[in-house]
């Protein structure tokens, strides 16, 4: 008994560093997502749905590839895509940033987004710089987090980072913070779901410049070469506009997305 336990323990410790395995090549690409970000990607009961899901379907159809989308959660998605063994890509409203580019490959941009400030209707806050000495809630490790860290200071005790936007928004609702900063799609969805709550959304294009979402690949991915032309095609042939209208009820600015670099 004891010896077996010893071996087990040894195995546990050794594998901490390893995480290696031999992934078999499949024709069906597994794509990871963190389906907790309505309306971009979320679970509708046991079905993964949202804008990104419909967009991915259009792209994979265009590329003629078989795929399966799996809800892995955010951190596992990043780990899985980085190793690239089980999952060939991640689609999850992932903003293209220089820091992430050091560890991953990105597709060409497919979605334009920006961050929006949500405050109580009677709040005097008018822009991002007004938030400097206010209490602000964000979702951890989003671009809203890094933008506000830039404005308020990374170690500011006034910047509260939550595990999810839902909890950040609840904190605002309960008066714990003066504002929430999050992706515009999230803020709008929240306002749509809570019309009776007196909130307003504020855009600040000067401080919060446009950011673009891309599909996340492991470094040196071969799938990227197949998907980039398909994404371009979907953007240009009107399929993208259809999907966009279905989810957001308005026309996308395709030129911005196509010209973004």
């Amino acid at each position: 008994m004891g010896k077996r336990m010893l071996t087990l323990l040894a195995v546990c410790l050794i594998t901490v560093m390893a995480g290696c395995s031999s992934g078999s090549k499949e024709t069906t690409y597994k794509i990871a997502t963190d389906a907790a970000y309505a309306p971009m990607e979320y679970m509708d009961k046991d079905k993964i749905t949202g804008f990104d899901v419909d967009f991915l379907e259009a792209v994979m159809k265009e590329a003629g590839l078989k795929y399966e989308i799996v809800n892995t959660g955010w951190d596992p998605m990043l780990t899985e895509v980085k190793s690239g063994e089980t999952y060939a890509a991640g689609v999850s409203s992932i903003s293209i940033t220089d820091e992430r580019k050091q560890s991953y490959d990105y597709s060409i941009p497919y979605f334009e987004s920006t961050n929006m400030i949500l405050v109580k209707e009677d709040s005097p806050i008018a822009g991002a710089l007004d938030l400097k000495d206010k209490k602000v809630a964000v979702q951890l490790s989003t671009t809203a987090d890094s933008l506000m860290a830039g404005i308020m200071g990374n170690d500011s005790p006034l910047l509260k980072r939550f595990d999810s936007n839902a909890i950040a928004l609840l904190e605002l609702d309960s008066g714990g913070v003066d504002a929430v900063v999050a992706d515009i799609a999230i803020v709008r969805e929240y306002m749509k779901n809570n019309p009776d709550k007196k909130f307003k959304g504020i855009l600040d294009p000067e401080q919060f410049s446009a950011e673009y979402y891309g599909i996340l690949f492991p470094k040196g991915s071969e799938l990227k070469a197949k998907l980039d032309p398909a994404i371009k095609k979907v953007l240009e042939n009107g399929t993208y506009t259809e999907v966009y209208k279905k989810w957001f009820g308005e026309e996308p600015n395709i030129d911005n997305v196509l010209n973004a670099k």
Binding site: M1, G2, R4, M5, L6, L9, V11, C12, T15, V16, M17, A18, G19, C20, S21, S22, G23, S24, A35, A36, Y37, A38, Y42, M43, D44, K45, D46, V70, N71, T72, G73, D75, P76, T79, E80, E85, T86, S164, N165, A166, I167, L169, L170, I186, E189, Y190, N193
Partner: protein
Amino acid sequence: MDFRFDIIWDYGPLLLKGSLLTIGISILAILIGSILGLGVAIGKMSTKWYLNWPMNGYIHFFRGTPLYVQILIVHFGVVPLFMGQTNPIVAAVTALALNSAAYTAEIYRSGIQSIDKGQTEASYSLGMTHRQTMRFVILPQAIKRTIPAFGNEFIVLIKDSSLVALIAAPEIMYWSNAMRGQYIRVWEPYLAAAFIYLILTYSLNKLLSCIERKL
């Protein structure tokens, strides 16, 4: 405060499915953890250094590091090594069982050491071996004494199993998070989850006190 029972109702079947998985994961982890724990406890109490050192280390590691991190290590390190790819349910059972074994080991030890030394000596003088003494004299008494402590450990394990939502094992918390993500609401998913855990732990409590009375 508006509380939307309708979205809990919508997610009812999935929460039920999640509950079944939580029960399955917990039962397996409790069983495996209890068996491993006994081995670890006996190893730790052994006078041979090559048994008690590693078992001591095992207990220190699994009690001294966050379960959160252990789940990630098992999910991304241990399970792929054996199965070639990640598998959240296997990882959940493994991580919870390994973690639980460290705690149950100490419970076994406290039970075993609470039995008077005289009993061991009496057994030896009757010609019983160490193994027989443990099996027929010490352990039956020790286990009965430790049932309340085991009850504690099992209840904690059931609640700790909510952490495996981190690796997307579709148990109760996973579906609560899905509900949270879809409606951007907090109370409905979490209070529903809390209520289910309360039912599970209450039932376990009843079961244990039943066993305690029968023994």
